[in-house]
């Protein structure tokens, strides 16, 4: 028995030593170990000799992903989008620079476990040990705020995706650029939409998750609605772990709103929808954050019909080179359907969510900035990002360049989807707002 003690202790000791050693020695660029990376590397090496004049350059892009923890689902979508972008770039031979040479792209990523404890440590590792040239943000605003401190410290440009809160970009950062529509403009379109479908509606109830993101969004929407003359009859936050929405639904029934807006993330949003349906609450308009645009929302069946949700991007989004030139913007990157096709081909037919599109878009923004800058020099790339004003399959991309809100996304805007039934009675997701991109009329009041 004593011997067992000894050996298990020795095992721990060896592991602990190895761990310390790991941080002391320069680790070989961990890139090679990432499964799936190999496929990208081999063509890189294969194409190197013909390109020949300059040795094939590779830039490293670092990020953390929530492989575990409660942000796992959206974060995985984001990483899938990024991986697809990388493969697309590398298959095309890399990003072309001013001198005609091409750079290939490689990723280094770690698991941040959806919490902030180690985000700064991991980003420091990416910036120093792994020598990442550029960074992509983690998923969620809280983790991104912690990572931004590191990106700023080491002078690394960071493209954020999945980080919508405005206040991260209002702290005097200079190297962080947001791909998403910020939280302050997330739900305001739903208010416009309500105004358009029912000018008579006056009472709005906000029921939302008590989290940084949802509160930011709802607070901005409330101000916007009040400015338009709506009565906010209920303003109620719920705990992220809420599974019984009974008390909130009772309050909603008491306050008799024309519209309910709010929600938070996928789990609570779909539970809320189901319970609202079970209790037969009579309300004409129901807009929820995050959950409705997810393809899995259809699992709710009839309860999903009529539910509206803001989305950063939808497969039906009608952004094309034509729409870009109509708006007087440059077009860059693949068409929406090309993205969807290659995504489905790479991930066994899975439909891309907007998180996946956001991940791809973050890569695309960086790619375009490097191409415009003609080099991988951070200052030149930063300048290119400041000047960027273009349309992609993801939408319009432009950044705030003022000192107060540097890097905040000002071009991109949300689309709103509604779940409807097609002629065969199947649930389908239709874009209903803004009207110029709509694929169907809004069902109002919802059944």
């Amino acid at each position: 028995m004593k011997r067992t003690f000894f050996w298990s202790f020795l095992l721990i000791l060896v592991l602990a030593l190895a761990a310390c050693g790991g941080s002391a020695e320069p680790t070989a660029p961990a890139a090679a170990a990432q499964p799936g990376e190999t496929t990208a590397e081999q063509p890189a090496e294969a194409t190197a000799p013909p390109a020949a004049e300059t040795a094939a350059q590779t830039i490293i892009i670092g990020f953390t992903a929530s492989q575990t923890g409660n942000q796992n689902v959206p974060s995985t979508g984001q990483v899938n989008g990024l991986n697809l972008w990388k493969d697309t770039v590398n298959e095309a031979g890399g990003i072309e620079l001013a001198d005609g040479s091409k750079v290939m792209v490689d990723f280094v990523s770690y698991d941040d476990e959806s919490n902030t404890d180690r985000v700064q440590e991991l980003y420091t590792r990416l910036a120093t040990e792994d020598e990442a040239n550029f960074l992509i943000s983690p998923y969620s605003s809280g983790l991104t705020a912690a990572a931004a401190v590191i990106s700023e410290q080491y002078g690394k440009v960071m493209i954020t995706t999945g980080a919508a809160s405005d206040d991260t970009y209002q702290q005097g950062l200079t190297l962080v650029y947001q791909a998403y529509t910020p939280a302050s403009r997330y739900l305001t379109g739903a208010v416009d939409m309500l105004e358009s479908v029912d000018p008579e509606a006056k009472n709005v109830a906000f029921v939302y998750e008590n989290s940084k993101f949802s509160t930011d969004v709802v607070e901005a929407a409330r101000q916007y609605a009040e400015g338009k003359g709506y009565n906010v009859v209920l303003m109620e936050g719920y705990d992220p772990e809420t599974t019984d929405f009974g008390p909130f639904i009772n309050k909603i029934q008491d306050s008799q709103p024309d519209a309910i807006m709010g929600g938070g993330h996928f789990q609570d949003g779909s539970t809320f929808t189901r319970q609202l349906n079970e209790k037969n609450v009579d309300v004409g308009f129901f807009a929820l954050l995050v959950a409705p645009p997810e393809p899995d929302f259809a699992d709710l069946g009839d309860a999903a019909v009529g539910v509206v949700g803001p989305s950063q991007w939808e497969p039906q989004a009608a952004f094309t080179p034509d729409s870009a030139s109509a708006a007087g913007l440059d077009w860059y990157g693949p068409l929406g359907e090309e993205f969807v096709q290659s995504y489905e081909a790479k991930f066994d037919g899975a439909e891309p969510s907007y998180h996946a599109a956001g991940g791809y878009a973050a890569g695309l923004i960086l790619e375009k900035a490097i191409r415009d800058a003609g080099s991988t020099d951070p200052a030149a790339v930063q300048q290119a990002l400041d000047a960027m004003n273009l349309q992609t399959f993801f939408g319009h991309i432009q950044f705030d360049t003022s000192a107060e809100a540097h890097g905040l996304q000002t071009g991109h805007s949300m689309v709103y989807i509604q779940w409807q039934k097609d002629a065969d009675g199947n649930l389908v997701k239709e874009v209903v707002w803004p009207l110029e991109g709509a694929t169907a009329d809004t069902i109002y009041p919802m059944p």
Binding site: K2, T4, F5, S8, F9, L11, I12, L15, A16, A18, A19, C20, G22, S23, A24, T27, A30, A32, A33, Q34, Q67, T68, Y110, D111, E113, N115, T116, D117, R118, Q120, E121, L122, T124, R125, A127, T128, E129, G142, A145, A146, V149, I150, E152, Q153, Y154, S165, D167, T168, Q171, G172, L173, N210, S211, K212, S214, T215, E219, G237, D239, P240
Partner: protein, 345 residues
């Protein structure tokens, strides 16, 4: 109780100078040597390697050491399991962050206020819930943490669920982000140093003996003249002040604060694991526990081999440790090699 120098506190013999007292009682400080050497090595290591990543890794480790050592005063010495100890880290962090981000205070006074707020909360709580024993106390501490999180979530001056973000200008006051992060590391090292000293002197003091007596048998201790309610309360306050200060430092470095990460129950449990791993009730234990646990997790997170299954591996290893080395590393060494008992306190 295996403390051989029961009354060896400096100053117990008023006639001799402190220098003589020190040499007379030199043996009493043997147990302090190893912990301090370890902390000193950790502090200078980043300078030796010259790498920022070493500094960042050691920051995580040292934070854990300081937190685990604070918790050890209550958990190890007094025998009260506080499952919600992160409440002090979170509350201190919030108070300090508010003062820095909204009121424009500088880091030092904000840290002091963070520690004070945590200590005050512990004092009030101690009066109320330290009457509970065993599992009931543990449950109450979880309740306190959840209640505090819910409160902060609805407390508008602290930003409610949105939390607060630090303007980057604040770092520029300390010479830029790079300087500020380096500075936080050395402040952390200094605090850890103090925590270890406090932990050691508590253990060697009469007050500490009272705590150990409470751990062994609270009723018997009271019969012997230990005023248990007050001793427990002060142990609780002492174990809460440092997490409060460290909370301010951590969230200053983090740049933003939100209720969920500030009052994360898992973090509490990790603290307990570190104390148990190293050996509860010893000065050295939480240090070894903190180093072992965090470097293991850090290694698994970034190693190419394990990074996709790091949680599973960490779980299995912890299980192995708890099954085979229940007294922690220090406890095991003390039992196995009685010679080491003087050195391993």
């Amino acid at each position: 109780m295996n403390s051989p120098q029961d009354s060896s506190v400096v100053g117990s013999a008023p006639k001799v100078s402190w220098r003589e007292a020190l040499s007379q009682n030199a043996g009493a400080y043997v147990g302090l040597i190893l912990p301090l050497i370890i902390i000193a090595l950790l502090t200078i290591w980043p300078t030796v390697t010259g790498k920022d990543i070493t500094r960042e890794s050691i920051f995580t480790i040292m934070l854990s050491i300081a937190l685990a050592s604070s918790l050890n005063i209550l958990l190890g010495y007094t025998g009260y399991v506080s499952f919600g100890h992160v409440v002090f880290f979170g509350l201190g962090g919030y108070v300090g962050f508010y003062l820095m981000a909204v009121q424009g205070w500088s880091l030092w006074p904000a840290m002091a206020m963070g520690g004070l707020a945590a200590g005050l909360l512990a004092f009030l709580l101690g009066k109320a819930i330290l009457r509970l024993r065993g599992g009931y106390f543990a449950l109450a501490t979880i309740g306190v943490n959840e209640a505090m999180r819910a409160f902060i979530n609805n407390f508008e001056p602290f930003g409610g669920p949105v939390g607060m973000t630090l303007n980057f200008q604040v770092y520029r006051d300390y010479g830029g982000a790079a300087q500020a992060l380096r500075m936080t590391f050395y402040i952390l090292a200094a605090i850890t140093f103090i925590v270890i000293l406090v932990s050691y002197f508590v253990r060697m003091s009469k007050f500490g003996l009272g705590l150990l007596a409470i751990r062994e048998d609270e009723d018997a201790a009271e019969v012997m003249g230990v005023v248990a309610p007050s001793a427990k309360t002060w142990a609780y306050v002492l174990s809460a002040i440092f997490p409060g200060i460290l909370g301010v430092l951590f969230f200053f470095k983090n740049g933003s604060i939100e209720p969920v990460p500030a009052f994360r129950l898992n973090f509490s449990i990790e603290m307990i694991v570190m104390v148990m791993l190293g050996g509860q009730g010893t000065v050295l234990g939480p240090i070894l526990g903190g180093i072992g646990y965090q470097s293991l997790r850090g290694y698994l997170l970034t190693s190419p081999l394990f990074k996709n299954i790091q949680l599973a591996v960490a779980g299995v290893l912890l299980l192995v440790i708890v099954l085979f080395v229940p007294a922690g590393v220090v406890g095991w060494l003390r039992n196995r090699f009685p010679v080491l008992r003087r050195i391993l306190q």
